[in-house]
Symmetry: C2
Subunit: 383 residues, 2 copies
């Protein structure tokens, strides 16, 4: 195990009806004027936005709103939010939604008190300071409710890049599994896939002697394997939704990923897909992971065999990857990029953006370092 620091000072308030605590929580974390930031449609239609506003009103906290966050959230709306916060003297950003609303909120919170262009943070500058952020989570997926990370797509060039820092770690996150019951099965499945990707990215390590984190990751993978299909079959299965939601948060606070190198190549490879095709991140990951795993398996076959046996109940590394791919298909995820518009002729574009974007010099590194040829082979295997 390697040396590490683990710091997860987010207050998680979990359970039925907990969005009614939003006002009290904002107050407890010294918010006095709130920007509520969200996507649209369902948050409004379901009455959730009204309940959150009522809770803020009850706590005597003024609030303004900015909706319109899209999946793969864009820089344009972030600039708008930053201007709004400055103009209106906002001192707390409350995200209501999934990973996109939260990531966009984090970007706004960081940019609002930064003199330069917020995109600097998405080019490698750590986010030490930001307006405090809180979240009311509506999709178990991204884990952004418990992380110090954010991913934004810059509209000029459609670059999808991440930023990190303690400044944007949420002060509190309200996790009410009921709010996820209205998600369509496809979005539920995308969330399940994203959570499992966060676990596999941590599982694929080159660090030895990591029994405790191996076992914790496996525990969460098994949970997703068992509870995921229940939520797909019966969207109103509160208990399955609850198990998935806590697993999703635990998957990404990093308590199960400390002290070990991690991979994140699948995420990087996928980011190019959702940037170019605007596919759901989870759907892109469902196609990417089996292709990547098959490509890198021989680097540490024992590790792939271990997860095959402990999580999937099969014998060999190959069978474990097949079982995972079959699981993803069974919950309704795509198996090829063709299914969301991927084309062979785009591969050079994908590879170039992947291997040379974000300051990279022709390869991506993780569990295995992958050069342009490797990445092209992996994209081809996804057709």
């Amino acid at each position: 195990m390697e040396n590490f620091t683990f710091y997860s000072p987010t207050k998680f308030v979990f359970g039925k009806g907990m969005e009614s605590e939003a006002g009290k929580l904002v107050k407890a974390f010294d918010g006095s004027k709130v920007l509520i930031h969200f996507g649209g449609g369902s948050v409004v239609r379901s009455g959730l936005l009204d309940r959150v506003k009522a809770s803020l009103d009850e706590a005597g906290i003024p609030h303004i709103e900015l909706g319109g966050v899209k999946p793969n959230p864009r820089s344009g709306l972030v600039y708008e939010g930053i201007d709004l916060c400055r103009k209106e003297g906002v001192d707390f950003v409350l995200a209501v939604g999934g990973g996109s609303a939260i990531d966009s909120s984090k970007a706004i919170a960081a940019g609002a008190i930064y003199d330069g262009d917020f995109w600097d943070f998405y080019c490698g500058k750590p986010i030490d300071k930001a307006l405090p952020v809180g979240t009311v989570l509506t999709i178990a997926a991204a884990g952004s409710e418990g992380s110090g990370d954010s991913v934004i797509t810059k509209e000029d060039g459609m670059f999808k890049r991440g930023a990190s820092g303690e400044g944007i770690r949420p002060k509190f996150s309200i996790l009410n599994p009921e709010l996820t019951e209205t998600l369509p099965p496809y979005q539920t499945a995308c969330g399940i896939t994203d959570i499992m990707a966060h676990l596999y990215e941590r599982y694929l390590t080159n660090t030895k002697d990591v029994e405790v984190t191996d076992r914790l990751i496996e525990a969460l993978l098994i949970t997703m394997k068992n509870e995921g299909p229940k939520a797909i079959k019966n969207p109103n299965d509160y208990q399955a939704r609850a198990n998935i939601m806590w697993a999703g948060t635990m998957a990404h606070t990093n308590s199960c990923g400390v002290g070990r190198s991690q991979d994140w190549n699948s995420h990087n490879i996928e980011h190019e897909l959702s940037a170019l095709y605007d596919c759901a991140h989870g759907a892109g990951l469902a196609v990417t992971m089996p292709a990547v795993f098959r490509y890198v398996m021989d680097h540490d076959k024992a590790r792939f065999t271990q997860v095959a046996q402990r999580v999937w109940g099969v014998e060999t590394a190959e069978e474990g990857i097949d079982a995972f791919a079959a699981f993803l298909k069974s919950i309704g995820m795509p198996s090829t990029i063709t299914e969301f518009g991927g084309k062979e002729e785009d591969i050079p574009t994908l590879v170039k953006s992947l291997c040379y974007g974000d300051g990279r010099d022709g390869s991506i590194s993780g569990f295995v370092t992958l050069n342009e040829e490797d990445c092209a082979n992996i994209y081809k295997a996804m057709l």
Copy 2:
């Protein structure tokens, strides 16, 4: 799953040599004058105390010392520490040691800014405010480094009681597995037992549909089962020590115990043993748990069967308890209270203190409610 709040804002700094960060960490959490609180012997002899002092000196933070904490820490030293903090204007308490030094530090930190008798907190008053506490952990066991709990023994009557509150949750905890390499096998085994007890107390729940927390607890139990014996066999096995240390912290921050009822009857039954016989808490637990589990097994045999199969690799509930008892014996723990001076004629005293102490009215409640007769039967089974 039940509704819950999970809040673990302790900064964990883990790995080799990390005690050299103590000064920087105290400074980051606004400490300007520190009480270093510790047991004695080994912390001094090993040079750890000197290294911690050097780190504080380097950060320009004045410090005073109070040693002498004993296992099952006593109220007398707490009163002494409180007086010292007030007299010297201490604003940060730094525990260097195991659960006893940490729990005593927490009591001092709470009492130092409280007008009444600190024992009020150990009679049920929640600890909302205290001086900030940091820890340099030397024994993987109690989990106090990541909890808002403290257990102190009142010398007048030898009552062992717990207190809780967000005020005493450590601001930071330095976890250097190297520091545990000098522990004798018996103390290592006591720590392993205590960690496993924290896991079993959470595992024994009456809440249904808790897949995610069941799996997380099992992951940590398996880790202890696999790594514990390595540390007993080779005290200098850094990797085993590291896996145990993180498992011990994760076992007690409660991320694996949220949203479910918990037991804690074994801890309560054991507290009477260590109060009366001054046995090590872990040794008391090693005797208590199998006796309690056999007594309550029929309340939910499926649960005991589940842990037997998933953790111990055996078929039945009975075999699972036997396997756990055999494991505890194999690492050098006692199997009967007779081994540390327990006598049949003490049982009425133990039962009376257990069932009527701490404001109880003749029984203890947890996974199963146990009355005086039940408790007497359980103590008898431990002879």
